[in-house]
Symmetry: D3
């Protein structure tokens, strides 16, 4: 079993708020993250896949192909977007890094080669905060 990780980048706007709460309660719970005029981040996305090495290529899978899969299914849909308004697969979700990691997992899991498994989505929201999701 070998693990391959590819780092990709996207930047986006978002805000944190629960629509069933008042503006005041959202500000108490989410602080500056509830700014109704939005804020944003440079997200750094690490996608880790795992499986057996292919004898013919010496690859688990081609890292360039992995990059293209992430680009098509994830970063093209998120880069330079408003996560709350512009992204189909985040509709009606709280746009926290936790939920974003899980939704990115769901976007990618179905598109990997059959002999390669998704292992981890690791998502940096800032250089000092990141979330990991292992699909369970």
């Amino acid at each position: 079993m070998i693990y391959l990780t590819r780092l990709e980048h996207f930047n986006a706007a978002h805000k944190l708020y629960n629509p069933v709460w008042s503006k005041e309660k959202n500000e108490v719970v989410f602080g500056a993250c509830a700014n109704e005029n939005w804020h944003g981040h440079n997200f750094e996305l690490y996608v880790t896949v795992k499986g057996e090495i292919n004898k013919d290529t010496g690859f688990l899978m081609d890292a360039k192909k992995l990059s293209e899969l992430i680009s098509e299914n994830v970063t093209e849909k998120l880069d330079h977007k408003n996560l709350n308004l512009d992204v189909d697969f985040l509709k009606d979700k709280m746009c926290t890094t936790e939920n974003l990691s899980i939704e990115i997992w769901k976007q990618l899991a179905g598109y990997l080669p059959t002999d390669v498994q998704l292992h981890c989505i690791k998502l940096y929201e800032t250089p000092r905060i990141y979330v990991e999701y292992f699909g369970e």
Copy 2:
């Protein structure tokens, strides 16, 4: 002459558009950066000051004091904000990293100790793009 640099962080939403242009022209010129629903970044701000070392302290100036000056005059006004909508000193400016660097210079220049000069504002918009401004 000695140079002291302090790194600070803020994250914010913005969009690039020229209000005298049509939506179509803005999209041609600014591409994804013109998304009317905004996008955002983790900005990394390097502030460099210069001057003579104080004989009593061995400091050009206290880096903690420099950090507080940047915080009060710059990052508290920009962090978790929408640069186009929420920031007095950016009103009616194109919110490019170029202009943002110059406006940050103006915010800071008047608040340094009298024997310390502002030397450079260096601002990372993404880990791969940054702007520098030396006040001239």
Copy 3:
């Protein structure tokens, strides 16, 4: 299950020596790290917690709250300190990064919200050496 990590910083002096050994033996075993006049490091501390996402907030826990817990219980007690002399919870411990990681775990484990578990303490002593402890 989701994992959230927060990076914090402290710097401190320490030395490595076993008080039951002679000065010579300490120098043989610990080399330059046994310098009786101390040396020091910028420690980078990654704290990872895990648990279920709260439905109302979309958070595992607020990363800002996690930062405050680490600050109050760990970094305020270690930053700008001598690890051998100034820190109650390191009294009579060998001040290696291994032991420091375990003692940081003990300081934090009791202060997390009841539905959040401590998962990992990862501590960089230099940019090229780090230790991880998972509580077992």
Copy 4:
């Protein structure tokens, strides 16, 4: 159980090609990586070992000793080398980062102190691509 990681560096040339395939097929499968005149990388190698802390030293093992073991058994044999031509333990292997990680594991596993186990080889090929191998 405690985990200790040491980062080492080497740079090397290599190419990716399967000798049973035609030049054309190699170019289709490996793209620019099949350039017959070679290309190269700065490899960043993280070696993680695990075990119990020694009561007398407070160490899992001396990080300097770990660095020397990696240097003697791995990086001195790889640094400033051609991985396809110059390295005994890579003879007749596809020189992918996946295979390189496994062969580095084999080089190191036999040389650790008896109470320390090898846990992970993590190898960056570029700043955006890395492979991990846990020995199973």
Copy 5:
């Protein structure tokens, strides 16, 4: 005057040798870098341009356009290549990072917009060694 920097990446093989010297003298002068079977690096290239801000766009120049110019004129010609064998503009040059920086300057200088000047080529050969060239 404002300065804009864009970071790009390429990896390549090379060796250092002076063809008028014997193999022995090359090994004495260049050490491991003279390995006749080549070695290689991940090069990180920072290109800095300078000029006046365009009033209509707020840009010195579009960083995306700068990236494309670097790609077309420099990194596509160097990435996954052998610097000594595969690159027209390095023919008969010693392939040191110093010379490479100067030749990259020459490749780019003629392709910038007329109101933008090339200011600096900064080229990392390893994470611990870099060269800067300012065109004079």
Copy 6:
């Protein structure tokens, strides 16, 4: 004119205090940095030299030779040391990063090859604070 930079590392203990002041005044001026039991840092030292490229080698100077000069004249004297107590060339100096940068300049300037000039000492005290000195 070409510029070559080499990054080196040392870690050390120090404290900030002016011996002509009372303990109380030192604490007011230097805060936690005045802790009489010391604190410490991982210092990252960038040494930049400049000059003409040697036609025979294509080098300004051999980066390995530069590394050895820094090691012999600077980092071996500072690494794992107490800057206030253990270092001849810092005797009776305030051990600020500003003064340390200037003293490192003095240590190195006399040992460079005759056709190479020292250009800059850049010294990181923490990942967020650094000082530069250009010899004037």
